[in-house]
Symmetry: C2
Subunit: 276 residues, 2 copies
Amino acid sequence: MPTSTRRTTWCAHGSRARSEPTRETLLNPTAFPRQDARTLSDDGDELHFCSTCAFSDACLSQGMDKSALMELHVLVEHVGPIRAGEHVFREGDDFDAIAAVRAGTVKTYVVDRDGREHVLGFHLPGEVIGLNAIDTDHYPCNAVALDTVMLCRFSFPQMELLATRVPGLQRQLFRLMSRDIGRASQLAGDFTADQRLAAFLIGFSRRLAARGFSPHRFQLTMARTDIANYLRLAPETVSRVLKRFQVEGWVTVERRELQLLVPDALEALAAPVLRA
Amino acid sequence: MPTSTRRTTWCAHGSRARSEPTRETLLNPTAFPRQDARTLSDDGDELHFCSTCAFSDACLSQGMDKSALMELHVLVEHVGPIRAGEHVFREGDDFDAIAAVRAGTVKTYVVDRDGREHVLGFHLPGEVIGLNAIDTDHYPCNAVALDTVMLCRFSFPQMELLATRVPGLQRQLFRLMSRDIGRASQLAGDFTADQRLAAFLIGFSRRLAARGFSPHRFQLTMARTDIANYLRLAPETVSRVLKRFQVEGWVTVERRELQLLVPDALEALAAPVLRA
DNA sequence: CGAACACTTGACAGCCCTCAACGTGAGTGG
DNA sequence: CCACTCACGTTGAGGGCTGTCAAGTGTTCG
């Protein structure tokens, strides 16, 4: 019943923000101690937010003043941990918030009426989910945690309001959405299985690198089936192509542990997809 | 040279705005006379803009006050006519404006390094182009007129600025971009040629209907090759499937003139694609 | 230890792309 | 009015990529 109105399952089974701000705290942002920790796993409880956060660019580089920064900070609601298999939201839920992934991987997907699952995307730390729900006021897809996930939740009505006062935030939202448009269309092309998988691996590697993780050795947090449903291939094809890459000596694959030995070869394959 | 910085070709061969506002006019929005004409081919020289415009919803329904409406109106620069085959912008051009199609059809596409053309979308009257350029500050694709095109051009920096003062406009921009994300991902699925073409025809029909045109009988403004490159099919396949639809008695096709006889049959086929 | 699940590997078939040739309509110039 | 050109579209034959089906292996978890 996709048309029914129903409450979001946000944080349905996860614990709430580890230190839920009291109303007094909300009105007194200075209560948050300033820290300079910039580790990948920081919990965001400082003015500069999580260093991995998609909004940190907006905050730090766009000349956002301190008061605006604090206002954004007050909006944040820490959600999690959400365990693997638990849903962040489901298709048809009322849209009321977007979220930045703080840790873990979120998969967004839809199920068509034939029961086939279509994976829309995998969202890594620092990336934002929920932007495609703005148009219809309902989430048009499901979002599920692939491993243990921590989120920064932002009420969208409040975010919208703040964006009118903070041009840097508005601009960052525009950029994020614009980026999603491009990313969504890049896999729409008719590419071979090899090209698709190479593009997936290179894209994954680049996104990890952008957040400070190793681009050469990383873990695939999703099942082969998920990759297949994302790339519009059969799971068997994913398996076969990965094998072929391994035989070529371009990668090593051990369960979900992946190592890129010859990134250039994959880049060459992926070129038409990534820079189509 | 996709990395080179180069001026946009906006209105490269078309005539400029028919009544370019003077600086005084810009500062005196009341100089624009109010009109109530709401025809599909109105030229937008009134407060309510073209009735087909994607922003008219934002203006009229979101409670935008009169002064804000006038400010938006002042931003509009009428561009055209642009003749078939002329480009609105090209990949790599500096991004400085978005545009609403006022009349005609615009095709956006990219050419990969193998020389193959990938059509990203067809943009009908009332729809907006250029939103996917915000992220990189350069247009990531080409935009070409398929027939005689008229545009409403909006300087994006000015639009952004105005959006901070007019929440309704900001919201409309968010909605438009959110919609594009969804639309871009819906053809990413692995569907049969029949499903893709049915979805294309139904989608085209619906979009025309939304702007007041006949949903049952319309003209395909693009070549079979364009449709094929959009749906990731071979032109021959498009031809064959269209033929099959015609044999089934679902449509009549005469060159680019198309008539939907049994929309339900096509809807059924397209269902997995449109509401995947 | 057994069951469920994820993943791999193999055989086969089907959809659609490729290649090729032909038909058609619009525009041009004689 | 007609011949010509050219782009666009159609139709046919053949082959390749990848999906489907099936069986087997390895891993996790109860």
